[in-house]
């Protein structure tokens, strides 16, 4: 790890966002991960996304479990709320936090071990409940902190650094998220910020469960020939179905693309997504055909990336449960103790 603090000095002409912050203001402390770790690029992408959206840092809550990936919230958004939970239990804590205070932006950061092994059940239920959050899995296919054993997302037939071949079938978290009802599903690559940053921005603006699987090479244990999660493998087999441009203004739509190759999707808050189609036959609004497409391409050895599925008016947990509109900490005595008359009526309704 780096011993010195990242210098406070910054580029004199650094752009500022609507709040007057530079992207440096969204940083955390210097990473203690291995040099070159893909996770650090994901942290940088989150920083860039939050900067570009001009999010007030104190309105964001970042939650994580255990593992290399789950250490990363320390390295971004140093001014935001954070919760480092028990291994695999981030989804429950996030769900609880979201129920208590629905006004914050929830960013769940997890890894392939944290979400696909010990926390698989938590992951599944959090997605199917439609919790309004961004759930990012930093997926490197190995247990980095324990020296590189295969994780549950490692592809069958891929090999470890010392040559052992993985004989178990992989868990595809994207397919699971699609099947469990996530309303925003994407996959990206830590080495491609041009793709990743807009996907994170759109996920943050999305209301409902947004899931992003980010393939993130482990430079120490999984960046060798035979790995399917190395820089070289992902670059060689990356099949992006579309390129997302995130836009706030409708006016910003530029019509210089061939007809049928650009699609504009309005989010619930009125913000606009522009999707440039790269695979012309891919429809990101069809859950079932998306699953089929993914499995076909995956069988061919490709890593399908891009915005894989989006459903703008899906709703979220608060809508399903018909919860109170304001965060619980803003409720006063009048709302919390509405009096004996109301209690009597409520009880009567159940008799």
């Amino acid at each position: 790890m780096t011993y010195i603090v990242k210098p406070r000095l910054h580029h004199p002409k650094l752009p500022t966002n609507a709040l007057g912050y530079t992207h440096r203001d969204y940083e955390g402390s210097v990473s203690t991960l291995c040099a070159g770790c893909g996770h650090d690029s994901i942290s940088a992408a989150i920083i860039q996304a939050c900067f570009e959206l001009s999010l007030p840092p104190h309105r964001i809550a970042k939650l994580s479990g255990i593992g290399c990936s789950s250490k990363t919230p320390t390295y971004f958004l140093g001014q935001s709320h954070g919760f480092n939970s028990v291994h695999g239990r981030m989804p429950s804590v996030l769900t609880g936090a979201n129920l208590a205070n629905r006004d914050l932006i929830y960013l769940g950061v997890s890894g392939d071990g944290d979400s696909a092994s010990i926390g698989l059940g938590q992951f599944a239920h959090c997605i199917r409940r439609g919790v309004d959050m961004v759930y990012i899995v930093e997926n490197n296919g190995v247990y980095g902190l324990t020296k590189g054993q295969f994780s549950a997302t490692a592809d069958k037939g891929s090999s470890a650094k010392r040559g052992a071949v993985n004989s178990d079938s992989p868990i595809d978290l994207v397919a699971m998220a699609l099947q469990l009802g996530a309303s925003y599903v994407a996959r990206s690559f830590s080495g491609d910020k041009a793709q990743l940053v807009p996907l994170i921005k759109a996920a943050i603006q999305h209301k409902g469960a947004a899931f992003i699987d980010v393939v993130s090479p482990c430079v120490a244990f999984n960046n060798h020939p035979g790995s399917t999660k190395s820089f070289d493998y992902v670059r060689d087999h990356n099949e992006a179905v579309n390129q997302l441009d995130y836009m706030v203004e409708r006016d910003a739509i530029v019509a210089d693309y061939a007809p049928g190759t650009v699609e504009t999707v309005m989010q619930h808050d009125g913000s606009m997504l522009r999707l440039r189609k790269l695979a012309l036959d891919y429809d990101p609004h069809e859950r079932i055909s998306a699953l089929t497409y993914l499995q076909q391409r995956q069988a061919a050895g490709e890593v399908v990336t891009g915005l894989l599925f989006v459903e703008a008016d899906h709703g979220d947990m608060h809508g399903y449960l018909d919860t109170v509109d304001s965060p619980l900490n803003t409720l006063g005595e009048a709302e919390l103790c509405p009096g004996p008359d109301l209690l009597e009526r409520y009880n009567a309704a159940h008799r």
Partner: protein, 597 residues
């Protein structure tokens, strides 16, 4: 763009902005690190080798390095390079072990040096260790030239001048100082059969002012540099109570501050231009104002008023600056009534001129139409092959550090000339580039960036300072301040060296760089490429470092402009594609290394 050729010494030399800007190319970051390490003698030696007068320049240099300093581009002010140099000189201790041996067996070549200023002294310093017999001529009784005669003692104590001049003279230079050393004819000097003659006679004439009253009131109107020299040699020790200094250069600042110490209670500087356009260095103006000297601007002197020959004041016309369509400035009268400023003495410091009445025009030395000798700017050679010029006498008034640079160049030429070699063929610099990696995250230099702002040099109490013209005003940094100021240096000579074939394009360097210097992108033409980097790269003076051989076919672009040389790119690089390497460039000086045979 093409990949950067880092084997060209100029590329990394330019990144060390201070060293590149210094006419003598002193390795600044190298000696600043030594100061931080309390190795003052070693720091002094680096300076002495390259700029010859560390103690003098550490107090008086025009510091072209400081405006160039990268620190000034990433925060408010540059590193106080000049005053750190003084720290090295003040604390150097015994320096005898750094001095070169002087051969007792001479090489039989006799060199005449006209003038004993910084240029001639540098030539002697470079040639004496090679076995030359150098003879130095000067009309003053001691060596040093304008460093001794024109720079006031409160800025530069005479002991410092003595010491640094003596180091050179004690190498065995034969001196002909005093009235007998004044050269009044180059023709007769050449007739003495020297192997080479170096002219470092300076720009000794102060510019005159021709306005009414100049003659009549002349007794109390003095030419600035002549007056300073008289003060320096003790011929003048007082001045009137009210003094006007005409002119806005550094000489004017020395005149007004000297006046304050010789009885001038109301000293005023008056300049024709605006305050901002004055030629004086910003810090010299600041020093003058600190001593209670007002600077009046946009006033053109039109008449010296006098009462039957006794100066009573100066009449000024008020002007304003107007710019024509080509952006040239004209000073035009405002039409307001003239201003009269009463005074007892006037010092005229409106410029210096060269003067060569002692060089006959028929001896083969060509002059241009401005009366300046034709001198090759690289070799310092005149049209008469065995005559060389340097310092102010070569290209007009500049400053000490330029004179030193000229001296080094002239010494190389003289040495090559005396060995029958082509002087136009210049020696390449000595360059080393060595990795500074000591461990996984350890470097041989302190890469932690100091957030401190520039430290002010402590000054002597004004009341005490103004009492005696020989009392040095600046006290210099003490140990602690020197360390803290040295820590502000960004170590620009520790270069970020990129090896494309090792890079796996993981973006770790891009993500960690505190200055957003690094971008991986598709190649393009420079102007267009600069528009799509991580952060704006609008300074075309600062190079883009281009690295190729990447697997994706993209290029690595690093904007050198505001790089802190903190080494975080190299620390976060998993494959060692980035390395921090110390680039040391030593400009070759006269000697066997610069000869081709």
């Amino acid at each position: 763009m093409h990949p950067t050729d880092i084997s060209n010494p100029d590329y990394f030399h330019k990144v060390v902005d201070c060293q590149w800007a210094c006419p003598a190319h002193t390795p600044v970051p190298e000696y600043i690190r030594l100061i931080a390490d309390r190795r003052f003698g070693d720091a002094w030696a680096i300076n002495w080798e390259s700029n010859v007068f560390p103690g003098i320049l550490g107090r008086t240099c025009d510091r072209p390095c400081e405006p160039a300093c990268r620190r000034g581009r990433v925060e408010k002010e540059p590193v106080a390079i000049c005053r750190l140099k003084r720290v090295a000189a003040d604390n150097k201790g015994d320096i005898s072990r750094y001095l070169p041996a002087i051969p007792t067996q001479k090489n039989g070549k006799r060199i005449a040096l006209v003038g004993a200023g910084p240029a001639s002294l540098t030539v002697a310093r470079d040639l004496m260790p090679l076995g030359y017999h150098c003879v130095m001529f000067d009309g003053d009784s001691k060596g040093g030239g304008m460093m001794r005669s024109q720079i006031p003692r409160f800025r530069l104590p005479e002991t410092v001048t003595d010491e640094e001049v003596d180091i050179i003279v004690d190498m065995g230079v034969e001196t002909r100082f005093g009235p007998g050393g004044y050269v009044d004819s180059l023709k007769s000097l050449l007739a003495e059969g020297w192997d080479a003659v170096f002219v470092g006679s300076g720009a000794p004439r102060g510019r005159e002012i021709e306005i009414p009253g100049r003659q009549e009131a002349g007794a109390h109107i003095h030419i600035g540099i002549d007056w300073l020299s008289s003060v320096s040699f003790g011929h003048v020790d007082k001045i009137g109570r009210r003094v006007i200094v005409l002119g806005g250069g550094n000489t004017a600042m020395d005149c007004c501050r000297s006046s304050r110490r010789l009885g001038g209670e109301e000293v005023t500087v008056v300049v024709r231009s605006g305050f901002e356009e004055m030629k004086a260095s910003a810090w010299e103006k600041e020093d003058a104002q600190h001593e209670g000297i007002p600077i009046l601007n946009f006033l053109v002197p039109v008449e010296f008023t006098h009462d039957s020959g006794k100066l009573t004041g100066v009449l000024f016309e008020k002007v304003k600056a107007e710019y024509d369509e080509k952006g040239r400035r004209n000073l035009v009268p405002t039409g307001e009534p003239h201003t009269h400023v009463p005074c007892d003495d006037v010092l005229v410091a409106i410029g210096q001129e060269n003067s060569f009445p002692w060089i006959e025009r028929d001896i083969g030395i060509e002059f241009d139409r401005w009366g300046m000798p034709k001198v090759d700017p690289k070799t310092m050679q005149a049209s008469l092959p065995h005559v060389f010029f340097g310092g102010d006498s070569a290209f007009g008034p500049k400053n000490i550090i330029w004179a030193v640079a000229h001296g080094h160049d002239a010494a190389i030429s003289i040495d090559k000339f005396c060995h029958g070699e082509d002087v136009a063929e210049r020696p390449a610099p000595g360059v080393t580039l060595v990795s500074q990696k000591m461990g996984i995250h350890e470097w041989s230099y302190d890469n932690d960036i100091s957030n401190d702002l520039r430290y002010k040099v402590p000054l002597r109490d004004l009341k005490v300072a103004l009492k005696d013209i020989r009392t040095e005003v600046e006290l210099g940094y003490d140990d602690k301040l020197a360390f803290l100021e040295a820590e502000r240096c960004l170590n620009c000579d520790i270069q970020t060296v990129f090896a494309g074939p090792l890079c796996i394009e993981c973006d770790a360097c891009v993500d960690i760089c505190p200055m957003d210097c690094i971008t991986f992108t598709d190649n393009g033409a420079e102007a267009e490429l600069r528009t799509r980097l991580s952060a704006p790269a609008t300074d075309f003076e600062q190079d883009l470092y281009i690295g190729d051989s990447l697997k994706t076919g993209r290029i690595m672009v690093k904007d050198e402009d505001v790089c802190l040389h903190c080494g975080l790119c190299a620390e976060r690089c998993p494959t060692g594609a980035w390395d921090m390497s110390k680039f040391l460039i030593n400009i070759t000086q006269a000697g066997t290394a610069c000869r081709s045979r």
